[in-house]
């Protein structure tokens, strides 16, 4: 140090600068959450895989030479270079069909999660916050929804379900928002007894302000995790509806429909059953892991380090 100072030209900078060797930057919550998330290896891998699947499902169809409703291939051909997932009995290119199926299933799933959260969260927050009569009535409406069987409603409305994925999504969301509402309500019920809410109220915050400025942001963590569960659940629910013939209908296709139609082919033409089935599992699995990672990352009380 002393050598440098004797050799260097005299500088005008104050020596105070040498006091600090580094700067400290405040980390936003987002950055904290992100860094914690990135430490969850499975979640990161899942995120990558899911993004790849999404890209494949949505963009792959533009790139792939054969559309999902092209049907001039050989019947029931096993997977080969030309037909990576084989063909079905009519001659459809199965690779293309699975891509399309994934796209439609994802469409349904995302829309369901979006609608369920958008309806369920405010509903649950309001019910949990106000409590008393309001909560009672609102939760009884939830009970009505819970007693209605999805299958019956979907089954009786089949003629309106004509092939469109968003109608299926509407029906699933129409039943799915209830779970989000219950979850949010549960969290709000415990949150509202806490001091910071009392403080906000003491400071004169209106109910709306308390709900939207204070409660809901604290519920985001739970909401996000629940949203991921909704997505995974919707994919499986659509597959379940297809099992009874009530999901997305032909000539369009979905993963649930593909798996369901090829149930009998498990032993005889396994590619028809396993490819869409494994895709469903892959999507649901990756989303669940992502949700898990998010839950870990968003939990403020998480203190243990990842090995």
């Amino acid at each position: 140090m002393s050598d440098a100072s004797t050799k260097a030209a005299p500088s005008a900078e104050p020596p105070a600068r040498a006091e600090r060797e580094f700067t400290v930057k405040e980390r936003t919550q987002f950055q904290i959450v992100l860094s914690r998330f990135l430490r969850h290896r499975a979640a990161v891998v899942s995120l990558v895989v899911l993004l790849l699947i999404i890209l494949w499902a949505y963009l792959g169809q533009r790139v792939w030479p054969r559309a999902y409703n092209w049907l001039e291939g050989p019947g029931s051909a096993a997977p080969s270079l030309q037909y990576p997932m084989g063909t079905d009995e009519v001659g459809h290119d199965y690779f293309s069909r699975v891509m399309r199926g994934a796209q439609q299933s994802l469409n349904v799933a995302f829309l369901v999660a979006l609608l369920s959260t958008a309806i369920g969260a405010p509903y649950g927050a309001i019910a949990g916050y106000f409590g008393g009569r309001v909560d009672m009535v609102m939760m009884r409406i939830v009970d009505v929804m819970l007693t209605l069987p999805v299958i019956a409603v979907a089954g009786m409305l089949t003629q309106y379900l004509r092939g469109t994925w968003w109608v299926v999504a509407l029906i699933l969301a129409g039943f799915g928002w209830v779970v989000n509402a219950r979850v949010v309500r549960g969290v709000v019920l415990s949150l509202r007894e806490q001091e910071f809410i009392e403080a906000a109220r003491a400071l004169g915050a209106s109910d709306a302000r308390v709900i939207f400025r204070h409660l809901i942001p604290n519920v985001t963590g739970v909401l996000i995790v629940q949203a991921t569960l909704d997505i995974a659940g919707a994919i499986l629910a659509e597959a379940g509806l297809s099992f009874i013939g009530l999901g997305i209908q032909g000539p369009d296709t979905s993963l649930g429909l593909l798996t369901n139609l090829s149930q009998e082919a498990v032993g005889t033409r396994p590619w028809l059953f396993y490819f869409p089935g494994l895709t469903i599992i892959a999507i649901a699995l990756t989303i669940n892991f992502i949700g898990d990672g998010l839950r870990d990352a968003l939990d403020p009380r998480q203190t243990r380090q990842r090995r």
Partner: protein, 332 residues
Amino acid sequence: MIAYTIRRLLAAVPILIVSSFIIFWVASLSADPIRQRFEGRNPPPPAATIQLERERLNFDAGFFRQYWDWLWNLVVHQDFGPSINSAMNIGSELGRRTVITFRLVILAMVLAVILAVVTGVLSAVRQYSRLDYTFTFLGFLFLAMPSFWLAVVLKQGAIAFNDSVEGNLNRRPIPTINHQASVVPEEFWPRMMDIALHMVLPTISLALITYAALSRFQRSSMLEVLNSDYIRLARAKGLSARRVMVRHALRTALIPLTTVTALGIAAILGGAVVTETVYQWRGMGDLLVTAVVAQDRYVTMGWLLVAGLFVILGNLAADLLYAVLDPRIRYE
């Protein structure tokens, strides 16, 4: 709390009435079940027969009148109304089927809960270890599998198993359909054995899927509890890990699990559709599918009353448990 419970129970009545009305309204929007049943017969049935069927099913009365008739019959005569199948007594059918489904659901639930608690605890205690990752992965895997996948695979497995032991045992132990054999054994113990064997596959199917859902809950709530202050205090006090786990952490962590279980039983009652279809158990799920496909509205409404009642009771139990076990929750 008592007042709350009573209020909730009383609320069950209007809830069920509203739900049944909604289903009734949805059913009226759908296809005419009589036309559907006689569709395409060559020669077509006589007009007189169709008219008789319409009268029997009360289709010619007005919309509200039909609903009111059904409700009145139900309350005054305990009659659930006419089914498309003229010989079906909806009430006794519902009763019989509920018993069958319960048999399936209760055992599956018990198994699932045990599995979930054990793996959830192990996972949480050794968070991020290989054990944790394995259990997490398995839990997610079963969660991500469409239910009929599992059922189909299990069936094939059972058949292969039967094939291999048939030579030695001279029988095929594991059945794949129904809740009892075609020829039911006369004596008590063989009959019990027969029933038990018939429960193997469907219970495993249902249990694995339920376990998956529960295990996520258990693990995350265990984690939350383990990271909380009072556990840290207990450990700081010098209590052994086992004591901390069992006497403090586990109890608290079980709270959400109990509520989820209560909800789960109610949900599975109507939700074991796939399992019942694949294994050909004549339970509630099977009834619902048949009724919906045939557009049999009164059966669906009756089904809703029974299943809906269980859902409401399950929810009530869940809420009560939650309040009882977590003193921070207050119900006014």
